[in-house]
């Protein structure tokens, strides 16, 4: 009995149908895309981490009582949830893309995630140190719809007029202790600076910032709302706590 030669049949089919090996560049391209996506995920994760650092660094812990009534409440308020969700998403993407590389499957999930987190922290810290995160934060605030409005950014503490915390841009200066401010929600305020705060006012940090108000300056104002348009300020602070040596603008 003649046994069909399966292999010969397949070879004949390959020849008959002119089946050819796929060119190498096709696989190189696929490999590059996957590694590229992995790198992009890591970089975006680093950006997210640098913004988390920025948000935490900019928190003014001395106003916790005024803002939230308790330290716990304040901590829950200042946690940058938006960027934490983002960094988790990018870490997952980095893990997913790495897993789809040629040899990615050989590595334990725990170590891939750990290294991705480590890389994001390292690069993110570098970006923060060089002021990249501030540029990103400004770019998001100005260009991403709802970023400021939904209080995803640092502004969320400084739109609490009922609690005596507002922030915004100085529009017009009449005197050092009397100027107009447009807050982050677009509302106009007359700011009147009082030298001595009400004794019942929560105790603020003893180190006071000296601000000379001028048009265009973004500031934080701590005080008491007198009425819908007038705000009695006990302290004016610069919007940024620390000026960076290098600042990258987007």
């Amino acid at each position: 009995m003649n046994k069909t030669d399966v292999s010969q049949n397949i070879l004949d089919k390959i020849k008959k149908e002119h089946i050819k090996p796929v060119p190498k560049w096709h696989f190189m391209l696929k490999k590059s895309v996957i590694w590229g996506l992995f790198a992009v995920s890591l970089i975006l994760g680093s950006f997210a981490f640098s913004l988390i650092l920025l948000h935490i660094n900019e928190v003014e812990w001395d106003i916790y009582e005024q803002a939230a009534g308790s330290m716990w409440g304040f901590v829950l308020m200042v946690i940058p949830y938006f960027w934490i969700v983002f960094i988790m998403g990018f870490i997952f993407l980095a893990y997913y893309n790495f897993r789809h590389t040629e040899t990615g499957y050989r590595y334990n999930t725990f170590y891939i995630v750990l290294i991705s987190i480590g890389a994001s922290i390292l690069i993110g810290t570098g970006l923060f140190a060089f002021g990249v995160s501030e540029g990103l934060e400004d770019a998001f605030s100005e260009n991403v719809p709802y970023y400021k409005d939904l209080n995803f950014g640092r502004h969320k503490i400084w739109v609490m007029e009922e609690r005596g915390l507002i922030g915004g841009k100085i529009i017009k200066v009449r005197a050092v202790d009397d100027f107009d401010l447009k807050d982050f929600q677009g509302k106009m305020w007359i700011i009147r600076v009082e030298e001595k705060p009400d004794p019942t006012f929560p105790r603020l940090n003893k180190l006071k910032s000296v601000i000379i108000p001028k048009p265009g300056l973004t500031v934080k104002v701590i005080g008491v709302k007198e009425n819908d348009n007038v705000f009695k300020a006990f302290e004016i602070r610069p919007w940024k706590r620390v000026e960076r040596f290098i600042r990258i603008k987007f």
Partner: protein, 197 residues
């Protein structure tokens, strides 16, 4: 000019040569024809005809992707990976349920001896009805455990090769084999196959 006899060439050399000369691919196919057909039958419930169709697809895919062969792998691991993936794809397409069992007596004995905790193999392990029950146990296992048992004990692959075939880390493979043992014993207990526990 390449004058080395195809039989003397390694798989990797044959794969490389096949890129320039299609005829050499025939020798590669001949080396893996029986092994892969047997593997496809073991991990699926396909008839011989369907298994041969899958085998054809496997070899065609292998030929098309020859330039993608990662030389850090063994060629056998790579081609087994293609066979595994093609079989699973075809299995899902047909949505077939396990109704026929493809392990022969010899393969069944290999698994029985490998999973038995004691090295004393009792006489009754050779009885046909016991082997039939053991085959039922193997096919009652979830696919992920059955696959690793077949690769480990019938295809005689080491953990690194299984890792490369299934694209899972070695730690995961080790865990799967260990859990496969436990599941096997659990199923054997249900079928009163105490000699295997």
């Amino acid at each position: 000019m390449d004058i080395k006899d195809p039989a003397e060439k390694t798989d990797e050399e044959l794969a490389n040569t096949a890129l320039d000369n299609q005829e050499y691919f025939y020798y590669l196919m001949k080396r893996y024809e029986k092994r892969l057909l047997s593997y496809i039958l073991h991990i699926s419930n396909f008839s011989s005809g369907d298994a041969e169709d899958v085998l054809q697809e496997v070899f065609i895919k292998t030929y098309k992707n020859l330039r993608a062969f990662d030389k850090s792998l063994k060629f056998s691991s790579w081609i087994y990976r293609i066979a595994h993936n093609e079989t699973i794809s075809e299995y899902r397409r047909k949505k077939a349920s396990v109704s026929t069992i493809s392990l022969d007596d010899k393969d069944t004995e290999i698994i029985m001896k490998s999973l038995k905790s004691s090295h004393d193999i009792k006489e009754d392990l050779h009885k046909k009805d016991i082997k039939e029950k053991v085959r039922e146990v193997i096919y009652a296992l979830p696919a992920k455990y059955r696959e690793v048992l077949i690769l480990r004990y019938i295809e005689d692959k080491d953990y690194q090769e299984i890792s490369d075939i299934l694209k899972k880390s070695m730690g995961t493979v080790s865990t799967l084999v260990s859990r496969a043992h436990k599941h096997f014993k659990k199923e054997a207990r249900k079928r009163k196959l105490d000699m295997l526990i």
